[in-house]
Amino acid sequence: MNVLDERLNDAPKIREDQPGLRNVMNRVDAEITVEVDGLRREFDSKEGKVTALDGVNLQVRKGEIFGVLGPNGAGKTTMIRILSTLLLPTSGKAGVMGFDVEKEPEKIRAVINMASGAERAGYDFISARGNLWFFSQLYGIPSEEAHKRINELSDMLGLQNYLDRKFYALSTGYKQRVTLVRAFINDPKVVFLDEPTIGLDVMTALSIREYILKQAKEHGRTILIATHNMAEVDAICNRVAIIDKGKILACDTPAALKRSLGAPSLVLEVSPVPAPASLEPLGKLDGVKGYTSSVDEERGLSRIQVVVDSDGSAQSVIDSVRKSGMTVVSNWRQQATLEEVFVALVGRGFREREHEAA
Amino acid sequence: MSVLRSIVASVRVGWYREFNWTNPLLGFSMRTVGPLAGVIAASSVYFVGSSAARSFSPSQLAFILIGAALYTHVAAYSWVPTLAIAEGKWTYVFPQVFISPHSSLPYLTGRTLASFFSSTLTVIVSLVLSFFILSSVFNTSIPFTVTPLSVTLLFFAMLVNILAAFGLGLLLSAYALFATKFEWALPTYVAGLLMVFSEALFPVSFLPHPVSDVANVLPFTEFMRASRQAMIQGGDVYSYFSYIGLATLGGVILLAMGFLAFRYAENRARRLGVIDKKTA
């Protein structure tokens, strides 16, 4: 099977720019653990057929933390559900550790695990430890070994003092920690995490990211994370696939993707807040790859981020905004983020995309 | 009259909750088979026992039939306030209702009324069906009085019984307000007690002495007696109204108790911080 797309082959072999990740194996010749080839998935819904995944190709290697980044409805969860054997592809292939999701789900189930940030699965009247022990038994792990693992993993997440609490009495953040201990309880080779830090406070999210990083680095696990959190991807992912409407638009290291934008992007604060339609001409200007805007209600102005290809285009954007009668309160250039990578690829930002879909 | 408005709105919510079915006919049947089977089961127990003892009497069958049907009626809707609270804590509907201007009482009233309507429908249907089924299976004629007057009197008794049933509902939901366990199970427990103590299946005088006195004055017992006076041949209007009087009196007392308990529980629940606590 040759599903390596070109962008992927061009990816830098070692990431110089993030020293923290240098140990992570990220070479093209490392073992391929997750492989997706021409993957399509359709759903029948009341409004007709919905295409959740529309010909996706991917390869993830051993020890990699791979991000799947996209707005709501992009198809991230669908991909994870296919890879974790909960859902069959409509067409195309998907494999984990060399096993086919369609034909050999049992073999995959023995070596993977998965968790979702939206999930708070557990038996309420059983302690956190009891729940984790129960889940370990689904993998046939001897109890002694299971408790050792529970203790180790809980230590990393600061869960150890909460293990004897009944599950229902844990707060959201601690239930989420239990879920993340569960996701690694069976010493999995590949772990699928769907929005692992959604709804958590910043400090908790940070400690969870560190934990995920450790799992990949120290145990060589492959971790595939679906998220629409750019900061998360930036912080821990070796590579990221940007996905929109079921298609992968780009796949590379976060740094390379940002570098590919060339010029820093332009941020304008304008007042009064313009109607969304009156911004549309912006997208058609020469040298503008796309834009996204948000309203700062407190200050009564609109912040527009424009992805431009050169300093000259930036200047002409400012001029044209002035000409259209808006007051440019301030403007500056800033180093591109992944959001701007998305804007450059799609023309609009996550927010607008999700608004369109809703 | 915004209280009235919120009661009416809650009746509608309750109605949707009760009949949340893609196919209303199927939904209604599903809700009716339970009570129907319950009535037939109780009657069969009587039939089997009395046949073996050669003491079968159609009027006793009528006694059981009415009692079993009305028992399911009361049991079905008196626990609705508890259901609304326990379920509402899960869906977060209840905390929202609780902090609304009139708080939760109009809501619970509305949900109870909706359930009263729907369970009245199911009970009437199961009463009629079991009447025909049992007359034919047991090959007997059950001495019911079915006249416009008797049916009106039955409905009136059911209406009066709302006082007591809602009072009981409030007592149970007072517990559900601050409970973090057993609130789902408690109503079933109380329903069991009600079967024993409300003269649903056998005269309460058969209970041991001090217990039978308690059962004797329960508004539910008086309601059963009044309904039987209305529906079974040989009943008379005078006893009907005296039972109704007692049922009203007891109902008012129970309602007042329920109300006080509920008010107390509201405060306690807020102190404990469990108004919006999800439990299993």
Binding site: A121, F135, L138, G140 | G34, A37, G49
Partner: protein
Amino acid sequence: MKLHSNPWLRTAYARLWVRAKSIYGEPLWVAVNVGFPFFTSFSFTMVYRAYGLGAYAGFAILGGVMISFWGNVLWSMASQFNWDKQVGLFEIYISSPAPITAILVGMSLGGILGTAPSAAMVAILGWVIFAPPIHPFWPAVVLVFSLTLASLYAMGMALSSLYLAYGREADSVNEALHEPVSLISGVYFPSVGGISPFPFAVQAAASLVPLTIGMDALRQSLGFPIKVAFIPLYIEALILALMALILLLASSRALRFLENKGRRTGSIAVRQR
């Protein structure tokens, strides 16, 4: 991989433990669970006494015992997977290597263990209060009781796959099934045999429910005063064993089928994200 040793037994045991622990962790549950079955069987015993035969009290007490298990089968077996699905546990089961039959068997044994104390309480209370006349042949009672539970819980497994297939309305279906099945299977009075009030056709139909055969076999083995036995006891035992086996196989096949169907249609997880 040496970590993975006999997942079937471990899974079944763990599921049993979770189920039993939820109940035994809160001893008051026993008292709460005794309530409804005890009061109903008390009421029916009173009906037997008040209008006819105190000797039949045993019917109603046995009914209270068995209704506890039947309720447990409905509310904690049949609709359990639907509930698990709501909270996200079902997808964890499916995406793990654990065999689904192990989960079902563990759930059943845990349910039986969890229901046993309250069922025993009903029996003891009924016995102490009413002292019904019985002439039990204990080895047969034990055998028939075990077989009845086996077939009853196997029916719960079959129902759980049905519920998974037809989804959402599980609770309403439970409510709709609880009383009618108790009625036709003769939980509180013999619905089959010499003193059944039902016509033969109804009796024949009722015999398709494992609980019907189980109740009759229990009444026979306990030596209740039934004038004419429905079917000889040993045949009933055979039927029960057969029913348990068939239902077990059917439900494990149905679940495998539904898992595949669920993966095709995307219905294994409820759409919560």
